[in-house]
Symmetry: C3
Subunit: 208 residues, 3 copies
């Protein structure tokens, strides 16, 4: 629908789809890493490679935005969407990096659980972003956004539960410091996914 | 004054007053909770109920904003004001939730002191927001904003003082982690109140 | 170039240069303080004085922005630039204050290293901001922004390295809490410098 009116701008949608696909890669890789319970140099450089690819797409979008006079969706929404998707990848990268800094080894079942919810949420965000191309997808986009919100609530409860458990059972203060940071970061990924869903939702509302 | 020109939009002011009234409720309830020194299930669900009511008003404001062509005050200011007031309630809710997660029991005189300053600040914010309806209230709004700024400075000093005391006297590292978070959160409520006051002030300046 | 068209607005540039000069003062003073390894009352009040001077310029800029109809650069860019420069000074002030609250004494070689990188970065930001006056400075501004980005990457690696060392070697949990906060804050100054560079860069792009 938008593409009829602004045929040459269709590539914003293509770029967003590319960018969110790297976020999906990051989330999948994160789940793999925490399931193996070890962040080695190889894992770090793979994660870093995904982050750089995502970064490149974000830069392309911003550059193109600065050069484009008429955009298929509001300029500030394009800007916000790119920045927020970038934040998803950054946040996942932050956790992997933190696991190395804290020398986390061994599989933590709570973190595996978080990684699964994160992967589901990023996939739902990808469906929402993918639906932006066409106003006919309004139902798909809406459902995906509702799912992202639901998973953010799931994450909130998980974080509260695991932190309660952490403070109630772990006696080593340095372990408390480490895991508190990691669980809070994990939940933050879901917050950022929700932020992306809000931007997508408001773009759809304006076009409806 | 605004209402003369945009009579049908007067309900934005009504909605802001409703929203800030829930922030006042949250602040009052927070003071009660910390004065009793115990966060039980009942307290949590009461706090959560206030937060949901505040959320509903925020959603109504954003929906109405999306549907309204001419707004009595700048669109971005309406958006910012709603979001910032929402942040007050969220932040208070975060502290109550944290007290449960950290299993805080017993009355802490520093936190009681913070809760009093928070309640005063939110009440001043409510006077500022309530004055937005009419440019004639410029003095009331201005005085309320000055008071919010003053209380933010009071909160800054309190936080520094209590953290200094905490690090100088408490030897249990896990207690240090818990109380550091709670005191920092408490001061953050006052920061958010100041943010609301800034938005209100800038709205008044533009209309003057 | 801008000043030809908007001669009366030239003082925005003058004000930005004034504001960033206080950030340079703050960074220099911070390096001096950490090189001496002691935050006494005298150091605190000097730091606080710099912060107030910087604040005053920020207020003047915002006031002038509210009164000016045609601005030499986009209103939102002027606003963003002032706020971000203010954040540099605030963040440096936060660290000095934290050092007092945590009763940090003695010279920490890592923090001295951070302080040097921070001073270099703020000086590069000052070159970028100083170049904004004239589109002919595009190369100077661009080079300065590249340098700020480079130093942010240097800071990221430093923070990761020193945190890894901290968690691997320090056994006192309260010392871990303190130094973790301080190193993270130090790196945050470099993040904020990068944010300023982004704003400056985007202003240049728009005018090119």
């Amino acid at each position: 629908m938008f593409s009829k009116f602004f045929p040459r701008d269709f590539n914003f949608f293509k770029l967003f789809e590319k960018q969110i696909s790297y976020a999906v890669d990051a989330a999948r890789f994160f789940r793999e890493v925490v399931s193996q319970g070890c962040v080695n140099e190889d894992a770090l450089s793979k994660m870093s490679a995904i982050e750089h690819q995502a970064d490149d797409v974000a830069h392309t979008i911003i550059e193109q935005l600065n050069k484009t006079f008429i955009t298929p969706i509001d300029r500030e929404d394009i800007h916000a969407l790119t920045m927020e998707i970038d934040d998803i990848v950054d946040m996942i990268n932050t956790i992997v990096n933190r696991m190395r800094i804290y020398n986390i080894t061994g599989v933590d079942k709570n973190l595996v659980e978080f990684a699964k919810v994160i992967e589901e949420s990023v996939q739902a965000v990808a469906r929402a972003v993918g639906g932006l191309r066409d106003i006919k997808n309004v139902k798909v986009v809406y459902d995906a956004c509702v799912e992202v919100n639901r998973l953010e609530n799931v994450g909130d409860s998980m974080r509260d539960k695991v932190l309660m458990e952490l403070f109630a059972t772990v006696k080593d203060p340095i372990a408390v410091i480490k895991w508190k940071d990691i669980y809070v970061d994990a939940e933050t990924v879901l917050d950022v996914c929700e932020d992306v869903a809000h931007v997508v939702d408001s773009i759809m509302v304006k076009q409806a």
